[in-house]
């Protein structure tokens, strides 16, 4: 086991071929002969507030959809301005997500409809909690499922920036002992003491190398390494490639920074961020309006991310989730209330795209969950299980989703 900290100080590159390697060192060494880093990255996006999946991927082939939503339905494809963008003759994409359509058409993006958590709760708080802990119905689970997934993935050398959340605080999904890091901004991470920052950081680092640090020593070592890697690789200085234009706002900014971390080759394996504003109880709108505005920013950010990543997208799988869907029928306020199943987007490496996956349960009242909501036919855990197994190489998923019957037959085969 080599000591990476020493390595970083001495730049002993030859020792770590195959391990992670900050790009700055590759550049320094002019190491054109080193193998290109091919670490797979999972980017998970949480749409907090329960997005209305029926208006994201619209079942335009169902008359019931139009009957249930007289004022907020997205018109059938080909019906003029504001119409849904057809995906497969039955489903269509919300027109505000037009930037995402090319990725569906070139088969790098897929959707899973009627996906979600089997738990019946319609509380944002509980449903988010269950989705992030990965144990629907079990409230006492202490850690998040992505944290448990990282812990399952043994690698010879792992970066302190293995799991990063671009959020102000460490989210539930990454809570636990795997050492995930949360940050608002890549540029701001590290010891800050004005002009003396570097010197003060060194002093702290020396202190924590001493035995007196005990249990803190490990975390400290990772912190200083993370800060040093961010400083030397300077991902924040990496401009978007391929003319990618991220929309203004927190979500675009988060995805832009995740792209920077990936391109800087700092050893990232799991990235997380969230985006809110989906709780459309009133004035949701159809092709235009509240939801449309949120989707426009959301779709533009995701498309910018894919553009920015370019060919690197083959190593990256982006997946989105939301705690539950919304009622099939619009309510008296031209909005929708808390429902059940929802739609997930998968984009990037390994995705057998160009399809809407999942068994469609239908919108006739006899097929609805509790007589009102789209039924869940795909457990969100099965979608993640497939990603974690096929992309992240995690063999034993039982500790990741304890109590869940991980049946390979239920795998939808979304990924190659």
């Amino acid at each position: 086991m080599f000591d990476r900290r020493v390595f970083l100080k001495s730049s002993g590159l030859a020792l770590v071929a195959g391990g992670f390697l900050p790009r700055v060192f590759v550049r320094m060494a002019g190491a054109a002969t080193l193998p290109a880093p091919n670490r797979k990255v999972l980017v998970a996006v949480f749409q907090r507030g329960a997005v209305d999946g029926l208006n994201v991927v619209v079942p335009h082939g169902e008359k019931t959809y139009y009957d249930a939503r007289p004022s907020i339905a997205v018109p059938r494809p080909g019906s003029g301005e504001g119409a849904a963008l057809d995906l497969d003759g039955f489903f269509g994409l919300h027109p505000a997500l037009a930037p995402v359509l090319p990725y569906f058409q070139d088969r790098s993006a897929a959707f899973v409809h009627a996906a979600g958590s089997p738990d019946s709760t319609r509380s944002h708080f509980d449903a988010q909690d269950f989705m992030e802990s990965g144990t629907p119905g079990q409230k006492a689970t202490a850690d998040g499922f992505l944290c448990r997934a990282i812990a399952q993935k043994k690698v010879a050398s792992c970066s302190p920036l293995r799991a990063v959340s671009l959020t102000p605080a460490l989210p539930r999904i990454l809570a636990g002992s795997a050492g995930a890091v949360s940050m608002n901004s890549l540029a701001g991470f590290g010891v800050r003491a004005g002009a003396a920052s570097a010197a003060v950081s060194n002093s702290f680092e020396s202190m924590y190398e001493d035995a007196v640090a005990g249990a803190l020593g490990g975390a400290a070592k990772e912190s200083f390494e993370a800060a040093r890697i961010l400083k030397s690789a300077d991902p924040a200085s990496i401009a978007p490639d391929n003319g990618a234009a991220y929309p203004a706002g927190a979500f675009g900014n988060a995805l832009k920074q995740i792209a920077q971390l990936i391109k800087a080759d700092v050893g990232l394996e799991v990235a997380f961020t969230d985006v809110g504003g989906w709780d459309t109880h009133a004035g949701e709108g159809g092709s235009e309006g509240q939801l449309s505005n949120r989707l426009r920013e959301y779709g533009a950010a995701i498309a910018a991310f894919a553009t920015d990543m370019g060919s690197r997208m083959a190593d990256v799988t982006l997946v989105t989730m939301s705690e539950f869907g919304r009622t099939v029928k619009e309510n008296g306020n031209r909005g929708t209330d808390h429902g059940h199943a929802n739609v997930m987007l998968l984009l990037g490496g390994g995705v057998k795209g160009g399809r809407v996956y999942g068994r469609w349960p239908g919108l006739d009242s006899s097929h609805l969950y509790e007589n009102r909501d789209l039924a869940v036919t795909t457990d969100f855990r099965d979608v993640f299980a497939e990603i974690l197994a096929k992309r992240m190489g995690i063999e034993n998923l039982t500790p990741v989703f304890p109590g869940h019957n991980l049946n390979a037959k239920r795998s939808l085969g979304i990924l190659a």
Binding site: F125, P160, L170, F189, V191, M207, E222
Partner: protein
Amino acid sequence: MLAVFEASAAAPTSKPALANREMAIHALNRLAFGPRPGDVDRVVSFGVPAWIDEQLAPERIPDGAVESSLERFPTLAMTTEKLWEKFEKPIREARQEKKNGVNGVLDEQAMVPYENRPRRIVEELTEARILRAVRSERQLNEVLVDFWMNHFNVFAGKGLDRIFLTSFERDVVRPRIWGKFEDLLLATAKSPAMLFYLDNAQSAAEPDHRAQRPLRLARFLGEGMAPTRANGNGPGGLNENYARELMELHTLGVDGGYTQKDVTELARVLTGWSIVRPEQGTGFVFRAPLHDIATKTVLGVSFPFGGGIEEGEKMIRILANHPATARHIALKLCRRFVADEPPVDLVERVAKRFLDTGGDLRETVRTVVTSPEFSDPRYYRAKIKSPFEYVISAVRAIGATTDDALPIARQLGQMGEPLYLCQPPTGYSDAAEAWVNTGALVARLNFALQLAGNRLPGTWSKAESLLPPDTATDPRASANALSCALVGEELSPATRAILEKRIDAEAGENARVPLIAGLILGSPEFQRQ
């Protein structure tokens, strides 16, 4: 038996007993939020056992100064009804106007004046918690408030809990932490905060277990608070959430010997324990028509057909005085005050005292903090501070004054312990592992530098004032004096060497003293208690 009991059965220490001064430091670190300048000397001269005794009877310690300083937070004294009027109604009305398409109403938040925004309530609670922890003379009381608010965690981010928490802390928890555990437990069980947080307010008997035909719950509870349709059994349905956490977290503990059937039956016992709609007065209400009147058995206790509220009250008293509860509470108190893995013998002794005194919390805590194990040298500075303990102890150590604690509250968020915002009912961990993570440690170091450098908005510190006059001109002597002032004793030779190196490099710089103080507050030594 819990694994930790076995793991911690270590041989007695061979370290020498703690000296008087170390004992004072230890007591101030564990039973208070760390020493302020001069506190160690005061406790030494007062006598450590006498000081502990005094802290165990906080009602006799005058604390008027801190209480009057909190008068500028008006919500602390408001009833839940008043909080509803002032903070929930305006935002709901604005939301309704937006829904109705009233001209110009695009953002309901913008329609509500700042002083009527609901976030004010939790901000004031947070500020008060921080200011009391920093300034109160009743330090052990504040440590125990932190302990019990965490034991009975309620998440302010869940709907109406933001208006229920003020009364929960003020009227439910604070008045009962020195009394009988069963009274505290029963009060939390009947609190709107807990009933809402863990969904018991919307738990109802299955229709064929009710005395009368089903009521339209939404009429009682309002939109969004009506029961979910568990099992598709018509309106209403059993919600097991509170019953499960009541046994797993509040009383017996996860290995407390109950079954899933006990959880379900206890949930049935507690059906009808609900809350009055806020606009109709707020508070606990027993809704008899929703109560499950069929026969039930919980932990071997049978309830015949036709019972009411007394069933839940009886079960809560049984749970409160159960031997498994005694062990669970004893373990948590020992973990908080003694060690992450406390000695088995101590936990057993504390549990016995709990049972012998009918769950008297003062006597239970006294048993922990006056035990030989508490002053065992092997636990001296052996626990990592939680973010709250770390931040408050740093502010106290440097003798800082605070008139706006929100920047401190935000720092706690960065370190992973935002007050009143712990989402899962487990509360925050009392063991080190949870706090030792990469992003959080950087946040601690930056907090230390900001605080000591007098760069934390709303808080004033002057590290130079900690120095005795004769050391001011000698940098190395001043570093040593700062260590003694902030940590209570000299630092390890390694840490000292690092400080001296930094001092030599900074020679002649005016910012030297605050910077060295920041390094000491960020040092591994100061992370421990």
